[in-house]
Amino acid sequence: MARVLVGVKRVIDYAVKIRVKPDKSGVVTEGVKHSMNPFDEIAVEEAVRMKEKKLAAEVIAVSCGPTQAQETLRTALAMGVDKAIHVEVTGKDLDTLQPIHVSKILAKLAQDEKADLVIVGKQAIDDDCNQTAQMTAALLDWPQGTFASKIEKGDGILTIVREIDGGLETVKVKTPAVLSADLRLNEPRYATLPNIMKAKKKPLKKLTPKDLGVEIKAHQEVVSVEDPPVRQAGSIVPDVDTLAAKLKEGGFA
């Protein structure tokens, strides 16, 4: 039976209004409500369902980030994950942390933990990078099934239905493989009280990137972070001719 590694990220909750820091170096994260990346929730749900269907033997959740990432891991444990690994990244390293580093960490852990399947959310809602699954697969030289909206397990083979621009694409990948979860894969469960209680007793291991031989080296520099331009008010035109004239003026016709 498969051993599944799930990557989860702690991000600012999507219902919170984002504020840009006055020095334009980033967004305000202090005192702001965070939660698990919605796509990662879907990934965790899928892994837990596989365990319930007896397709997976053990599910391990991983998160790279500051101490508070442990809260996110506890949520994953409450959803049914068996154990959690917290890779502690703080301070300057946290600012520099990019998907490339996370992929290296996940790849190393997949090998250490003898995982057959690595599942992550398709992208994080704070950086929208959509890179981690793909890079992890490349580093491990494993096949990948990204934007998965349906996963079916066969014998040593996974049939994945992918959501792409043109519609739905079905691919078959051999395990071990890396998958990334898309929105319509499943609807994550709410962690219920008995499971929340049980989660407190489940193991949570702490590591650092150094332990895994990964150096958090800066590859790029964030120049500035700005608010998107304020939406201009529209104007109501009295008739079609005026509309055509305005479009011509604006250079759209």
């Binding site: 005192g31 219920t192 009280l193």
Partner: protein, 620 residues
């Protein structure tokens, strides 16, 4: 050819409009559904009136000739529809004042309207009252972050106010399912309750002051922004909860609490009501000072939400669900209190299952499950909605009392949900369409039951049109009389929201048509008058009937003629001369004797002869 084409196009348009309207199931006119309601002695809207309105608020007068007034005339619950042909949309207190002054002079009935989300048909006309809609009065005048006071116009939407306040770390003290549409003026005028009354108090507590316009156009400036102001009668409290019958609220000052740092929501599933009661007690003990909301919904409500709104519940199907929200200043402290509470209730087997939510996105989603119950039930077809306060133990008893009877008579659902922490239960029955039979099985039985258990027949929804005949189940005759006294002083012509709250204006009680009630059962005639009236004999009865008939026939004749009123005829006359009263002589003597008579040289002065025994004055 073109003419024929366009006229047939018009016909097609008309037919398709008719079809559309009929398939969209127009709500029955209130005056048709409740034929016992009689239109009061008010003027009928004329073109002259409309042109005057146009002068006061140019471009903001909607008439049935040019606009579709259906949404203004129909209530949110789709149970009442008025027949108004005019909607006025003022933008300032001054405009409201001029409009009301004119309407008062012309004896035009007015129906003040905000977001039109009321649940007792109080915000739509019954007949053809002029609709005074305040939606355009949306300015926020000021937000004082130091004192937490917001001053804004009555047409501001509750949710929008809350969003603006949250940017300054404040929040509105009330929260209800209708927040996306309801306006603060309406909230104040109906003393709206909501989900967080338990923690932040009612509108009476949070409305520091307001500006209202009386029926005659006088602007009452009771806009105080101070927490403490004991200077005379607290006039603003008169308007809070008066449902637009004493004045039109145009501006309010609301005390806003600070946004809590840590909000947690528990969604719990329980097996029976006894467990619900125990859990509530535990919650008050373990969570006391941080508890900000305590709500209940039963399985039928949950099913309605799942089926009609296509939403998913966090838990499996269980007989009862509770939502407990805590708001505190320290997440870690609150988490400790929550954990202690949850461990206790789980270990004692009070709670079957539950979940705890702290993420803002999830909080909204789970609260929505409770807030959309009203809409979910509405989608069944027709909702019979009741809102009563009951003693804690009896909170859920209405459902077993009515369930079997009503289901037999064709009801779809019979369920209860509500503000468990306040003892305020929303008892709802749904059916595919309105049925007099079902209505008769529920009313007045539910009010009698509530009154018997010393509850309130309307906890937060107010009286409006639907409950006006049941006011006596919760208030004594003397109290209602005093309310009529106040109404008489504030609105002598009875133009503000007539037919609602207290029913007919004073002087018309003898002809009050009790559209909704049946006879009061003997047990409830407990409120005996102070003086026992002497028994009547048949002659007296006959005489009294004759007298009443004479009075009503004279009134009818008056109405027929109705060519003028005293105010119009004498309005331009000069004032009468000042009366100087001086006692000339005290007359004593046998009754029926006129013992003195004086003549006056001045034709304008008169003499008054008073007979104390028979208590009359003779003015000569």
């Amino acid at each position: 050819m073109q003419r024929i084409y366009s006229s047939s196009l018009q016909k097609i348009n008309q037919i398709s409009q008719k079809c559309w309207k009929s398939t969209s199931t127009r709500v029955e006119l209130t005056q048709v559904r409740y034929p016992k309601l009689k239109r009061g002695n008010y003027s009928v809207i004329s073109d002259k009136h409309i042109s005057t309105f146009e002068k006061i608020i140019p471009g903001r007068v909607l008439t049935s000739a040019t606009d579709d007034l259906e949404s203004f005339n129909t209530d949110w619950l789709r149970t009442a529809r008025g027949n108004s042909s005019v909607v006025l949309k003022p933008k300032s207190t001054e405009e409201v004042s001029e409009i009301l002054k004119f309407c008062n002079q012309q004896r035009l009935a007015v129906c003040p309207q905000g977001g039109n989300t009321g649940l007792v048909a109080g915000s739509v006309p019954v007949f053809d009252e002029v609709i005074l809609n305040l939606s355009l009065m949306r300015k926020i005048e000021s937000i004082d972050t130091a004192s937490g006071v917001i001053v804004c116009e009555a047409g501001c939407v509750l949710e929008e106010l809350d969003n603006v306040l949250r940017e300054k770390d404040l929040m509105m003290p009330l929260d209800l399912g209708a927040k996306g549409s309801c306006q603060i003026g309406g909230n104040v005028s109906t003393n709206a309750g909501g989900l967080r009354l338990l923690r932040y108090g009612s509108m009476h507590a949070n409305t520091l002051g307001l500006i209202a316009v009386k029926a005659d156009g006088t602007v009452v400036d009771a806009l105080n922004c101070l927490k403490k102001d004991n200077t005379g009668y607290a006039l603003h409290h008169l308007f809070v909860g008066s449902e637009g019958t004493l004045g039109v609220v145009t501006k309010v000052a609301i005390q806003c609490p600070h946004v809590p740092q840590a909000v947690s929501l528990m969604f719990l599933g329980l097996s029976d009501f006894a467990s619900v009661m125990e859990t509530t007690q535990r919650a008050k003990g373990f969570l006391g000072e941080i508890l900000s909301s305590c709500e209940l919904m039963d399985l039928e409500c949950a099913d309605a939400v799942v089926q009609n709104m296509k939403l998913k519940l966090p838990l499996e199907r269980m007989p009862f669900y509770m939502l407990l929200e805590t708001s505190g200043s320290n997440a870690a402290h609150d988490e400790e209190k929550l954990n202690a509470f949850l461990e206790a209730v789980m270990n004692q087997g009070l709670v079957l299952d539950g979940t705890v939510i702290t993420e803002p996105s999830r909080l909204k989603a789970v609260w929505h499950l409770r807030e959309c119950i009203a809409e979910a039930l509405l989608r069944d077809g027709y909702v019979y909605k009741y809102d009563v306060t009951l003693p804690a133990q009896k909170f859920y008893d209405l459902v077993p009392f009515f369930n079997d009877k009503l289901k037999e008579a064709g009801a779809l659902r019979c369920c209860a949900f509500g503000h468990l922490g306040d003892g305020n239960v929303h008892f709802n029955v749904t059916s595919t369409e309105f049925s007099y039979k079902l209505l008769g099985l529920i009313e007045p039985s539910i009010y009698e039951w509530t009154s018997k258990h010393r509850g309130s027949i309307s906890a937060e929804h107010g009286i409006g049109l639907k409950k006006r005949d049941f006011l006596k189940f919760s208030k004594t005759a003397e109290a209602i009389e005093m309310m009529r006294d106040i109404k008489q002083v504030m609105d002598p012509n009875g133009i503000l929201n007539p037919y609602k709250d207290l029913g007919e204006a004073r002087g018309h009680e003898a002809r009050t048509t009790q559209a909704f009630s049946r006879t009061i059962p003997a047990g409830l005639q407990a409120r005996e008058p102070k003086f026992a009236m002497p028994k009547e004999d048949s002659e007296q009865t006959a005489l009294r009937t004759e007298l009443e008939n004479l009075i009503s026939s004279i009134q009818d004749k008056q109405k027929e003629v109705n060519d003028a009123n005293l105010a119009d005829k004498c309005g331009d006359m000069g004032d009468a001369p000042k009366i100087r009263l001086a006692t000339k002589k005290m007359l004593k003597g046998h009754i029926n004797k006129v013992t003195t008579c004086h003549y006056s040289g001045d034709s304008r002065s008169n003499y008054i002869v008073q007979n104390r025994k028979l208590n009359y004055f003779l003015l000569i």
